[in-house]
């Protein structure tokens, strides 16, 4: 269902409530904001502020209790489960905390993973994967397994996997959380260059220094934008 909006991403009156036993936790509380195409935004907040829940909701992974997530005029949660899977494949590139690579697949295979459910032919997959692996500087290590790489290198593989399908939006959850300061800055610089190439980047972080790479920062506290 297409909805008229002036923004690439628009969050309308979004709420998310969790039930934990008898306790109800308000992770997102009536949030409204928008992100424009090709923006680089960081979402900052303390642990438990609701920023990761917000990211997964933005990524069509976590149905909100109420409100709307509009992406490219599309009401994401009006889509069926399988349509949302297709939406994620086409629109979203995820960079997870702790990299989350598939341990039994090589760097090359991990990068090609999102393309295994597309109609892209094997030869083209190889070309695209080779290109992004070169972009993140891991050509020499393309056929290694994840556990044969350093943390920074694994993060680069996760980024390569996120961008290989050329999704317009990249969502990153604490991408520098497990890295030393120098590597963290390299990764943020890489994300910045991807933004310059036209990707909309949304990074969840609690690190003030990392937000310097973004064009805008959304501060979250107790499930609200502050």
């Amino acid at each position: 269902m297409l909805i008229d909006t002036n923004h690439f991403i628009e969050i309308r009156n979004l709420s998310k409530q969790y039930e934990t036993g008898s306790l109800a936790v308000q992770a997102i509380d009536h949030m409204d904001f928008h992100i424009d195409d090709q923006e680089f935004v960081t979402i900052m907040g303390q642990s438990g502020s609701g920023k990761s829940t917000l990211l997964s909701t933005l990524g069509a992974l976590n149905r909100p209790s109420s409100g709307q997530v509009l992406v490219d005029s599309l009401d994401v949660y009006a889509l069926s489960t399988e349509q949302r899977a297709d939406f994620r494949s086409e629109y979203i590139g995820f960079i997870f905390q702790s990299f989350q690579l598939i341990p039994y697949l090589t760097v090359f295979e991990n990068v090609k993973l999102p393309m295994s459910v597309t109609r892209i032919k094997n030869q083209e997959q190889d070309r695209m994967a080779t290109e992004v692996i070169k972009r993140v500087g891991l050509t020499e290590k393309a056929f290694r397994l994840p556990d044969q790489l350093s943390g920074g290198e694994q993060e680069r593989v996760a980024i390569a996997r996120a961008i290989v399908n050329k999704p317009p939006i990249i969502l990153a959850d604490e991408p520098t959380g497990n890295l030393d300061s120098s590597t963290a800055h390299d990764i943020m610089a890489l994300l910045q260059s991807l933004n310059a190439d036209g990707h909309t980047i949304i990074v969840v972080t609690h690190n003030q220094q990392m937000s310097a790479y973004a064009k805008r920062t959304i501060h979250v506290s107790d499930g609200r934008c502050v």
Partner: protein, 386 residues
Amino acid sequence: MKLYNISLGNLSRRKSKVLFLVMGLVIGISTVVTLLSISKAMTLDIEERLNQFGANIVMIPRSDHLSLSYGGVSLGGVDYQVKEFEQARLSEIRAIKNAKNIGVVAPKVLGQVDLMGRGAMLMGVVFEEEMVLKTWWQTQAGGFPRTLEELLVGSYVAQVLKLEPGQEIQLGGQTFKVAGILKSTGGSEDHAIISHMEKAQAVLNKPGKVTLVEIAAFCQGCPINELTLQIAEKFPNAKVTAMKQAVMSKMQSIELFRSFSLGVSVMVIFIGALLVLVTMMGSVKERTREIGIFRAIGFRKGHVMQIILLEAVVLGVVGGFAGVAVGNALAWLVIPLVMKGTGFAGIDGYLGLASIVLSVALSLAASFYPAIKASNLDPSDALRVL
């Protein structure tokens, strides 16, 4: 990159779990293969024994004769209308629907002859067929007839008339030479003079005629009653009798073993399926994080199911092949131990193929619920374990 790369990658990573799953399938499939191979060997053995036992169908002309004999003691009878068969028509026996089950067709012509002033029974046989049927025939002196002019004498006839091998006798004006004296069998042949069919027909003046036909049929999967009916249809004037007792008791024992094998197989297969189910469930639980990642990067529920079911197919094929190999090896080892004098009948291609299909079906059936469970995992819940 295709989904099967993920399935194969996962299987190659979890070698011990794969080994465990394959073992479960191998135990199930090899049990089925072993038991069915033993059952097949038993059937073949009984078929062979049945052949050695002799005829299991007897065809005689239908007549109004009232039998007045009991336990070998004949009180005589009255033949109102004795009919005989045309020998030329016997080839029709091999044209019945279940012709492949017909083993030996041994025709005989019977009649009374005068020998040294005493009445004796002359039996004309086709020696090639008769010797296959009567494997227990042995001579106590001399050998079996080689020429048309030679004949065999029953032990009782030889004793009464003091006949010896090499001696010449006159029957119906023709001269015959006694080739051998048959060792006592306790049967009718002890009282008979046995010659070649053509000669006996000439002596008895019954050219081209046959008095009775003994038939040996293999009865694996063929109801003996069906065979007798099919033969009776071809020969309306014949009385076709099945020696059911011998056949039935043998077949019953095979059926009993088959039922036992089936019961054991079903139980072992059920346990194997349960093993696959439990292991696959555990595997899905272990892979929650991985499934979460798949779903997050755009895999549909169907894609997750495909990955798990593809793994099940690979396991099923490997387990099936290994099960068939182990089952045949066990049958090869066990059959000579449990059935003296019988060997492994060889690898049955159809059984092998059916076992592999069964293994795949079993693996798929046992993995279906875990696959559904995996595909229905909420990606946000799955990612919460990240």
